[in-house]
Homo-oligomer: 215 residues x 2
């Protein structure tokens, strides 16, 4: 969250927020957070600007002051916020997945984070699924977050391969994709079952797959 307010240099190159005063930036961030919650609950298609105004007690002119581009600009800001949130929730483990112990810590961190989310799915996965068929530009932004996420998993595996922990014939990109798919699919089943165990089972399976390539 701090990242979004303090700097415009996010992954997808959002406009710098230095154009706002501190108070303005706070108000803007509050609107983005409330919209993120609404979209998590009802999807992009199910969230109107009137919903956002009601949830944040802002006027129409205030909303367009902060988001001249209207709903599209607001949704892009939500994507930026959720993209950073999802990756931040996995840090610091995500930045150094270079030992088997680090992968176990990462798994615990992911489970703890989503347990605290009370049964929501992955904000990025849900947005990506909704945007894929309806908004090519937004889908392209979302795929950048998913690739960045996979790249982090892959980087750890490449280091482990260089360090002799992972077999030379293992494919870090495919293995990282297997793990990310397990997170996404596990979260979908955790959301639909309203229970954490499907995500736990999916992650256990994915890490077992990784270990089957141990050197």
């Amino acid at each position: 969250m701090d990242y979004l307010v303090q700097s415009g240099d996010t992954l997808t190159g959002m406009e710098p927020s230095t154009q706002w005063t501190t108070k303005g930036a706070t108000t803007r961030a509050r609107i983005v957070e409330a919209t993120a919650d609404a979209i998590l609950a009802r999807g992009i298609g199910g969230t109107s600007l009137d919903d956002v105004r009601a949830a944040t007690a802002t006027s129409k002119s205030q909303l367009f002051h902060y988001f001249p581009g209207g709903k599209a600009e607001l949704v892009r800001a939500v994507v930026g916020l959720q993209g950073e949130r999802v990756l931040d929730a996995q840090r610091p483990a995500l930045d150094a997945l270079t030992t088997w112990e680090a992968w176990d810590r990462w798994r615990e961190q992911v489970l703890a984070h989503y347990e605290a989310q009370h049964g929501w799915g992955c904000p990025i996965g849900s947005l990506a699924s909704e945007a894929a068929g309806s908004d090519a530009a937004l889908a392209a932004e979302l795929v950048q977050y998913l690739r960045h996420w996979r790249d982090q998993l892959q980087a750890g595996l490449e280091t482990m391969q260089a360090d002799g922990l992972l077999r030379a014939d293992a494919d870090p990109e495919r293995l990282a994709t297997t793990v990310l798919a397990a997170v996404q699919g596990g979260l979908l089943l955790t959301q639909t079952e309203q229970a954490l165990w499907p995500l736990d089972a999916a992650l256990e399976g994915a890490l077992a797959t990784l270990r089957s390539h141990a050197a």
Copy 2:
């Protein structure tokens, strides 16, 4: 599809379509199919009854003749159609996953089906994700399809355990969940990357996890 038109005895107990003449049933099925396509592209929230009327060249009164309950009833019919389609696409392999060769055939069948879908995600997974936060009754119907799907995977593993192909300490329910999560997460990444290899990688990983429990 035939299943939906010929009988109302679907998984979630939809109303019998025997109330319609053959021509009426055909028209109704055509509306459901067109709505399914629209929802696959733009989500439930992004699909209006006006969109459906335009896509099917039906009048408002015709639409309410076939779906007196309006959009909610139409969406339930789409769930029934997509639920059956998704399971049918895995048959006959899905009904007898009782050998390692059967699992390989199932994997090939899933890949071939989704390759032909031109980059859509899983209709059931996408609907479940959208309904989870916004429509408890619909979410409850969707979870039945996901459970039925998992039960089929699990039944195969239980038979393999009884036949001595899978170790006695393996947990068929968790393993089936791992495989279903791989399908769902793999399809999400296949949809966002517009390429089949993420699903392929995810399924390869999931089947490797299964085989690591071979007796």
